[in-house]
Each structure stands twice: as structure tokens, then as C-alpha cells.
């Protein structure tokens, strides 16, 4: 057993970055495993969570696989992203609030500082103030802090809890679906996540049940130098429906933070999952210092007549590497991807989707809107694959780029592979600038230059933003505005 460091993270002097209002840090006594990654650390994480043997074995296999990739230097480099080499031995792989030694049984036992953090983020967890119509699982650093509305969900047989709890209380479900969509051998970052993931959310909606409220997980990285590796697994059983929201922020830190998450969605026959993300990890300073490196593997699988819809608004992170995808296995199933990705200052985003058509009459829609500003670099990377059995598959792809200023870049990399002649594919792409005519038009009506820019950009992104649940759509609009500050005017 390795020794454990204990330290208190203290509020640090605020870096000069007024733009990122989620950048505060929280004083909480943390328990950290020593930096670096080894089988012992994997065992420690598993032990901390009191996991069954099968879980530990899976982690260790994933670790072994990752080590092999690491030795072969197989970290993916095909994306259009530039960043210094990541030192995987210089990261904390386990950071948990110390008060969680014995996991809190109720909100009263949660560190008040932490509750305040979520309050400040607009996600109150207290019974009285919590968000109406949204069940929240709050994840602080690597650990789930609280899940609201759990009782009401339970009445309908809906399971919504932290991943750790799911492993304890619903091992048969976890064992059945974990790695079924994203195996640990999928890629370098998925292998890393599989070895060391510390928590995340689990949701299961039983056959024929329509989840009456939105499920939301709010991820917060706090500890400096810690990686965040959460794992989300959502299963909509036959004919079930669930809408799931994911939000994320991190404090302002001078050093970069690694975030490598895995999300797996399973929609069984006639099941439907709507997954919405607002990704607002700390993007780094205006001159490109710090920020979150966001390497995420998200994928869903649809059985017969099922549907999975990904909507994402990506405004944060210094580096974004993310391709929420759908394997359309069942006949008549539907996959959708709606994305707005913004890269301002020195942010780099390489994001897109993969739609893999296996079943007959499968249908996919891709709407990608990339906004580049400052020195930002935005790449859409999308794949559409029609396999031989996918009779009458259709895909519609619309891929638009918007440039703000002339120092930024927008790139489009579509891959198309069609192995069935009945497939119908449409691809539209455009690159535009905010035109002087539009700006003058809006300003001549009394609207300030900054607001005019914002109005034009959110208008341009509307096809995507309208896919978000209402409150999230408002937040997304605000976020685009804040994220573009300084890029215009």
C-alpha cells in the first residue's frame, strides 16, 4: 500500500483573468494519492471505493493495455492540436474531499464550502433551492457530492446515482454495459480512463419509462495538478426515454489540467437518449497559459428503432479532442449530432462525430458550427460510414465555420465511407465571416458592437442551440457571449 499525502488546497492569488467567472477555487481538505500512475495506484483507487474484484481486474487490464500503448508511444497525434507532451507521472490520479473518508449520507455531512461552490456555479443542491425539474449529480474533483431527486426517480424504477454507488448497488447492470460501447482497448485516453476513473454518473431507465425530469451531472475540477477521469454510463431500456445534461467548469490555474472522460450510451429497442453538454472547462489565459486538456471519448449505440441525439456547446478547455459518435446497429435507428464549438484566444478544438450505419434504414444528422476567434483553431473532423448491410441509410451533414478576426483558423475534415449503393448522403459546408454590413445594420439600430457580434453569432448557432433544453439554451447563449469577450470590439 502506498502512503497518502494529505494537504489542504488553499485559495491562491487570482490570476489575471477576469473573463472566466467560474475561476474561483475552493478551500476543502483533500485526500490525494501520490502523483503518478502504477498498478498500486489503480489498486488504491479501487480499494478506496471498496470495489468488487471484477472491477479491479478490469481496471488493471485497462492499465496494462494503456502502459503498452504508452511504451509504443501510441498517444493519438492525428488531430490538428498542438500541445506540449503530457507527463503522465506528474498528475494526481485520485483526489477526494477528505470529509468523504466515510462517504456522506446526507447533504448535512457535505463540506459547506463545497455546497457553496455549487451554489456559486448556479447549481444549488439544498432541498429548498435545487433546480426545478432537474435531478443533479454533483461531482467535485473525482467524487460525486450529492444527487438530488433520487427518491422520486426511484419510484419509477429509474436509477440515477454516482458511478461508485452503481458499482456497489447495481453491479449486474454495470458489468453488463461497462465497456460495451467503448471498450478499454478503444484508444489511448479511453484506456487511461478505464484504469483510473474515479467517479461519474450512472443512469438506467427501465422499459417503457419516460424519465419525467432532466438528469444532470455537474463536473467540477478543483485540485491543482489533478486529472479528472470520470465515467458516465446511461442505459435507456426498451421504449425508455431520458434527457441528460452535462455541465463542467474548473478554477483558473496556471498549469494545465488533464481531463479524460468516457461516456457510453446504450439505447435499446425504441429507447431514446438525448445527451446535452455545455463544456466550459477553464480555457487558459488570453495568451494561452494553463487551461484544461480535454480528451473525451463519447459514443452511443442504438438498437432497433432507437435514437441517440448528442448536442454540445463547447466553449471551454485549452484543447478539445472529442467526437461524440453513434453506432447505428438496429434497423430504423437514428443518430444526431449538433455542435457549436468555439475557439478563442489560443484555444484549439478538434471535434466532430462518427456515424456508423450498420442497420437498415438508419438515419443520421450532423450539424456542426465552428466559431474561431483570436488565435483560435477549430477543426471539424467527422466520419460517416455506411456498412454493406445498411440498406437505405441516409446522412445529412451541415458543417459551417465562422471566423471572427483574421488570425484564427477553421478546418473541415470529413471522412466518408460508403459500402452500400442505396445510401443517400448530403454534405453542405460553408465558411463565413461576421459581415460588416450585418454589424452596421444592427449597430445602426442602437445595438453596441459587442452585442451586435454576439447576436449575429448566436443567431448563426441557433440551429444547434435550439436543440438544448430551455434553461441550458439560455446559459449557452450567455456563455458564447462571455467566451467571445475581447475577441470583438
Amino acid at each position: 500500500m502506498t502512503t497518502q499525502d494529505r494537504l489542504t488546497i488553499s485559495r491562491e492569488s487570482k490570476l489575471d483573468d477576469a473573463g472566466y467567472k467560474w475561476g474561483f477555487s475552493t478551500d476543502v481538505e483533500m485526500e490525494l494519492a501520490p502523483k503518478g500512475l502504477s498498478p498500486d495506484i489503480v489498486r488504491l483507487i479501487s480499494e478506496k471505493k471498496d470495489e468488487p474484484d471484477w472491477m479491479l481486474e478490469w481496471r488493471l487490464k485497462a492499465f496494462e493495455y494503456w502502459s503498452k500503448l504508452q511504451r509504443e508511444d501510441a498517444e493519438p497525434r492525428w488531430a490538428k492540436l498542438r500541445y506540449p507532451d503530457i507527463d503522465y507521472q506528474d498528475i494526481y490520479y485520485y483526489a477526494a474531499p477528505k470529509s468523504f473518508d466515510d462517504a456522506p449520507k446526507s447533504l448535512d455531512e457535505v463540506d459547506p464550502e463545497m455546497l457553496e461552490t455549487f451554489d456559486k456555479l448556479g447549481i444549488p443542491l439544498h432541498e429548498r433551492e435545487r433546480l426545478a425539474g432537474v435531478a443533479v449529480d454533483a461531482v467535485f474533483d473525482s467524487v460525486s457530492v450529492a444527487t438530488t431527486y433520487a427518491d422520486q426517480l426511484e419510484e419509477r424504477g429509474i436509477i440515477f446515482c454516482s458511478f461508485t454507488e452503481a458499482v456497489q448497488n447495481h453491479p449486474e447492470l454495470v458489468q453488463k454495459y461497462l465497456g460495451s460501447v467503448v471498450p478499454y482497448t478503444d484508444n489511448f485516453f479511453a484506456a487511461l480512463n478505464s484504469a483510473v476513473f474515479s467517479d461519474g454518473s450512472f443512469a438506467y431507465v427501465p422499459p417503457g419509462v419516460r424519465c419525467p425530469i432532466e438528469l444532470m451531472t455537474y463536473f467540477r475540477i478543483n485540485t491543482e495538478g489533478s486529472g479528472q477521469f470520470e465515467r458516465t454510463l446511461i442505459v435507456a431500456d426498451e421504449g425508455a426515454y431520458v434527457s441528460y445534461l452535462e455541465g463542467c467548469t474548473a478554477p483558473i490555474r496556471r498549469t494545465s489540467q488533464l481531463h479524460a472522460a468516457v461516456v457510453e450510451l446504450v439505447a435499446l429497442d425504441r429507447g431514446e437518449i438525448k445527451y446535452s453538454t455545455i463544456q466550459n472547462w477553464y480555457p487558459g489565459t488570453k495568451d494561452g497559459q494553463g487551461g484544461v486538456y480535454n480528451f473525451v471519448t463519447k459514443r452511443g449505440i442504438t438498437e432497433r428503432d432507437a435514437k441517440i441525439s448528442w448536442t454540445q456547446v463547447e466553449t471551454g478547455s485549452a484543447i478539445t479532442w472529442k467526437y461524440p459518435s453513434v453506432i447505428l446497429r438496429g434497423d430504423n435507428s437514428v443518430g444526431e449530432f449538433y455542435s457549436v464549438a468555439l475557439a478563442n484566444n489560443y484555444q484549439q478544438a478538434d471535434t466532430g462525430t462518427k456515424m456508423i450505419h450498420i442497420g437498415k434504414n438508419t438515419k443520421s444528422t450532423i450539424v456542426s458550427k465552428g466559431i474561431s476567434a483570436g488565435h483560435g483553431e477549430n477543426t471539424y473532423r467527422g466520419g460517416v460510414k455506411i456498412l454493406p448491410g445498411a440498406e437505405n441509410a441516409t446522412n445529412h451533414t451541415q458543417c459551417d465555420s465562422l471566423l471572427v478576426g483574421d488570425q484564427c483558423g477553421a478546418h473541415t475534415v470529413p471522412y466518408i465511407e460508403v459500402r452500400n449503393p442505396t445510401a443517400r448522403l448530403e454534405h453542405e459546408a460553408s465558411t463565413s465571416k461576421v459581415s460588416d454590413e450585418q454589424l452596421f445594420y444592427l449597430m445602426s439600430r442602437g445595438i453596441s458592437e459587442e452585442d451586435a457580434h454576439h447576436m449575429i453569432i448566436t443567431g448563426w448557432s441557433r440551429n444547434v442551440i435550439k436543440e438544448l433544453p430551455f434553461e441550458f439554451a439560455l446559459e449557452a447563449g450567455q456563455l458564447l457571449k462571455v467566451s467571445l469577450e475581447g475577441a470583438v470590439g
Binding site: S435, D436, E437, Q438, F440, Y441, L442, M443, S444, R445, G446, I447, S448, E449, D451, A452, M455, I456, T458, G459, W460, S461, R462, N463
Partner: protein, 254 residues
Amino acid sequence: MLKIENLHATVTDSDEVILKGIDLEVSPGEVHAIMGPNGSGKSTLANVLMGKPSYTVSEGDITVDGESIVEMMPDERAHLGLFLAMQYPSEVPGVRPWQFLKAAKDAIDDANGQKKTSVRQFSKLFDEKVEEIGINLDLIKRSLNEGFSGGEKKRNEMLQMQVLDPRIAIMDETDSGLDIDALQAVADGVNKMRSPERSFVIVTHYQRLLHFVHPDIVHVLVDGKIVETGDASLAEKVEQNGYRDYLAAQRNGK
């Protein structure tokens, strides 16, 4: 209230001179009409008054109530009460006319230290004007000017003018491309807005509109200069004779 003195303006990118010394004074309550051949600089004048960055004032001054506005941004001019109904309004995808106009009204009210109009009050005003001007309700649900016909765009400009209630309204060929009903609606709108405090500068090619909206003063603009100023009868003269004589005089002058 609006005074233009010896105004010279160039295209910002090329330094090409378009306006070559314009003098014009518009007092409160007056309606001025500006006529002139294609390419004479009418739209340029209208845009320069509104502060379009693609033009640069190289000489002369524009003042409102004695204060120079040449250095002001377009939004600041709007806050002062200027409005330009454009000859070719831009299309803005994804922005709803209602949302846009509410934001504009709020910005102007805010700059003038006034309270925001409540959503309910604004909606009432908006719906009233939409009905008055005869705007197809389907349009209101679309993006601003996107897929609007020429006439529909012009009606939409009138909607904005009436809701924003400017002190100095500049209309650049709002009457071009309008059907009879729309022309009547525009004229009625202007006549209803006419007041001792408000002035209009109306750029037009046709007598048609001026039959309904009687101008106090008519100017003829040729090659970046005002070559004749008169009363309403000047418009009739122009419509009968065209600009041949002015253009000939200009050629001889060179």
C-alpha cells in the same frame, strides 16, 4: 436640428471621393426629399449620416443640435435619435425580428436613461405595428430579412422605424419595389409620425411617394453635390425632365 456643412466623404478602402461638398440643414418638423440619378451618392450620404465605417468623412461636419456626430459610432447616433431605413437591409440568420427590435429599443432607452419596456408592453406595440404595416405574420417567425422579398424587407424597415420612434428618420428608397398597398402603408406611417419635433430625409426616385408625403424641401443631388434645392414642385420638374440638363451642365462645367 441636423446640419451638414461642406461634407466630403470617401470610400474608406480606396480613398475614392463620393461626396464632394454637401450643405444641408434640416429643421425640426421638416420633410426633405433627395432625388438624383443612379450613382450620384444618395445612399452614400444616408450611410455617412448613420456612420457606416466603410466611408470616411474627409472634410466638413455633421452636427445634431450643434454637436458634431462625425466621430460617433452608428449605435451612438441611434441613441441620439437617428434612424436609417436602408436601401438594401442585411439578412441576419437565426435572429428573430422581435428579439432584434427589442434589443435595439432597450439599448436606445438605456442610453437615454429610460426604463426598459416590459416584454408585454413591447409585444403589444410590436403586434400593433405589424398589423398596421401589413407584415405577413410568417415573416416575423423567420430570421431577420432572410428570404424576405424586396418589398417585405422595406416593410420590415418601416416596422423598425415606427417602433424605435427616431427624431431624425432617413429613408433610402423605401418606396422602391413596393406594391400600391405597401406604398400607402409607408406613406400613412410617415404622415402619422410627422410632428413638429421630428424630421425626415427621404431619398426617392419617384414622385409617387411624394404625392402622399408632401415634402417641405426637395434637393437634387448630382455627382456628390446638391445642384438644386426647391419646394415640392421641383420633384415634379425632375420627374418630367429627368436629370439630362443637370448632367449636361455638369459635363460642360468640367
